[in-house]
Symmetry: D2
């Protein structure tokens, strides 16, 4: 039979099982999203529609893959934490990473029109890449999310200042960059307040702190786990503790599959 003659090529496949009993973290990133956001007129410094679409796509991933207990998003990236004990695809790395990336990408294109109703699809297909990282302990997981959230803060403070100078201050991008160069957080905060009447701490938390999706076990009269959009302020300590312990909580209510059901709180993601 022809099949057997050629099937030796399978011996070149390598086993890529990830070490058992450590946390698997998959992070995806938009490719060329500087251009993509410009082409689609994303609001500066943050486009809440785009962030909510990211969150929707992330929720789709978590709805499919039960072993993801925590998601964290900012800008065009999203991080997904799998429970330590997951045996998804026998922990094969390429299978896990490619599935997460494909699920996310698929949902991003699919739900685009729900967030950008003027167009039924983007101008061209968006692309994300992804990678897996292993973390043996809760401490590193907590610090991983603290790292991403610190990054969110730093980038957002810079971007908020930059676009205030450019859009309200009528500066050239180049001049704005020069003016911000070397300033620290305090100076940016003061500048925003004094020159543009922007109280940075009042900016929506989704911009300052990113978005969190936490899986929580739900009361026994409900039929499955829920993915809970959560106050980003609580990252990283207690949040990661919850995610890693995956504790039961009592009051979980929101149905998460339709963007219209998000709460009205400024700092809860769609």
């Amino acid at each position: 039979m022809a099949k057997s003659k050629y099937e030796y090529v399978r011996e070149f496949e390598t086993e890529d099982k990830l070490l058992p009993n450590v946390f698997i973290l998959v992070r995806i990133d938009g490719k060329g999203f500087h251009k993509f956001s410009a082409e689609h007129d994303f609001a500066k410094p943050n486009d809440v529609r785009a962030l909510n679409l990211m969150n929707h796509a992330a929720r789709s991933v978590m709805n499919e893959l039960d072993d993801i207990v925590l998601g964290f998003g900012e800008s065009d990236e999203y991080s997904f934490l799998f429970r330590k004990s997951t045996d998804l695809y026998q922990r094969r790395e390429a299978k896990i990473v490619s599935t997460v990336v494909s699920l996310f990408t698929s949902a991003y294109v699919y739900y685009w029109r729900d967030y950008f109703p003027d167009s039924s699809r983007p101008k061209y297909p968006p692309v994300f890449d992804g990678r897996a990282v292993l973390y043996p302990s809760e401490v590193e997981v907590r610090d991983y999310f603290a790292w991403r959230q610190a990054d969110t803060h730093i980038n957002n403070l810079f971007n908020t200042s930059f676009w205030a100078l450019v859009e309200q201050g009528k500066m050239s991008p180049r001049a704005a960059e020069v003016k911000l160069s070397g300033t620290d957080s305090k100076q940016k905060n003061s500048m925003l307040f004094e020159e543009f009447d922007i109280n940075y701490s009042k900016i929506p938390a989704i911009f300052r702190k990113g978005s969190i999706l936490l899986r929580e076990q739900i009361p026994k009269d409900m039929d499955k786990d829920a993915i809970i959009p959560t106050l980003p302020e609580t990252l990283p300590g207690s949040m990661v503790a919850k995610a890693t312990l995956f504790t039961v909580i009592e009051n979980s209510s929101s149905s998460l599959d339709t963007p219209s059901e998000t709460t009205d709180s400024e700092n809860v993601i769609a």
Copy 2:
């Protein structure tokens, strides 16, 4: 600065560079496409719209990634061959695999409506996974594609027979399976011809032999490489030889980005 304090978590990232100077083959597969094709009423045993959408998505991948020299598709899977010397993403495995999978998935959802005009998007987001395999020599590459094409043939002959028995022969799926069990290719061919007047060798080549996308260098008065849909009969020998050598050919013309421009030949992919 907060960043530095947490950034140690990056030390847990592992380098995943693929060995230089060997062929990289990335194969993607639809996940749950048995259900997906049933939900979307794909024609049995083959849905030419679905295959053409696969080919369109594959062409999108090859348009973005110049180092892919050959693509081969069948059913819900597609294989992409990178040239030996590619330094795409410094040959980082996760980056390469996740980008190919994301590009493919994105294009599949994006171009859906061009192939299934009754609906603007599928009923739910489709998902693909992917993996990379390394092949040191042209012999293994040729045998890899021979393996996939033999698989195409075996599956298609079985499926053609099965659906002839079920749809034309009014057999139950179970009875059809029993009848086919243990038959060889010759017996299936005879059965198709005698009972259903189907000359298997006249079935479109895209069904019997799969789809091929070959990148070829184009005449110097044209401005870039072209991805050429090619007669699948020529796989694997001379085709792989061409792909691996990436030879210059003279007559390449078709613009490949719009499905309407496919030729009328029955065995050229869309």
Copy 3:
């Protein structure tokens, strides 16, 4: 310069850093030691000289590599546990494994004559191989050593019974094997006691339970850590706890580099 022209070959070297913050376990095994022990007339079922030479070689390894906190030996194998935080050779796998194996092999040949004084060296060079395994938590480390110690027990009880039948019982090896086939521990214990007057529990612990080398911090008036031969009964629970925590203990005395200084206790290794 000639060097630069060829140095591209280094790009084919791959990074093999082991995940940080997990336990590294290196296990070495004698190759062809069935033949090696026969050629050198090792006593059956256990040769205390050979075991003490193994222990001496293991101690040499631990004297060189400070980050090994626990060693466990049985027959022709030895396991070495590195502390979680070790950065030895930047955790490069091949470097760690090959160094441990080379140190062990070198010491085994070097100290041979101290344990087999009739010959200055073995009849031919002995060989060991090795591998590394990662364990994220103390539980797995404890169970790893429990696994090896259970193996020691099972093998030794079988071998003790087998050689009693062959040497004292004058059975053929084949007949002894048949007689033991299907017997459980209790039956072997009874047989040894009733037929050969051997109280299995009185056999030296080094045979029944293997050898342990534990690194312990020593009182501050001493100048470096000590590697303590320890009662094997205490494996695995408290022993691994000690090793993984690397606690300070008060009473550490023995100088460990010369085999003559071993205690006379039956269950303390040389």
Copy 4:
């Protein structure tokens, strides 16, 4: 049974099979051999006894492992080339590397007294480490050996010049280093000839070009392959071609296991 309860720890072992059909190169290096050679009064700049012992150890490795077709040694390092098709230990990396390193180390200690007859063993056990590198094609293999041989030349020319200045020229090591700093090969050659009457090209090839062990198939009336010490001048081109093709040659005679049988030619290794 106790065994099964703990055996789950084996699941943490990872598969480390090397890609099929590429050359495996294992290079070993002495650890701390600067100190080791000083402690044992190795002659400067080269100690022929030490080099011959290295060659003997390498030959022991090649006698055990039939799939090594070429060895190249210089100073305290040795490189071993496996044939592409080797399936030794199912190409498991740790097993291959650790076995080569252990074999080499064992033989080095074992045969020490044959090359340093004043002492039955070194002052302390010597240690080597090792690593594997994969090379897909003959070109890279050839360039790998060219790289190591260029390294041999550069180091030996420097060392020869340095020790001429120190031992014959009565310079301090520091002054010798300063004098050589920035000189090219030609200047070193001239200096050696004019100041010390040393014609560098007349120095034994084993010092200038390293040692080569080539496995060759032997005439059919002989019973196994032979490992042939070969003129180092022939590296790398034809040598690697021979090794990689493993061609049959007619006239191979020397029995290689005893150092006394080496030829008197200056450029043939012991």
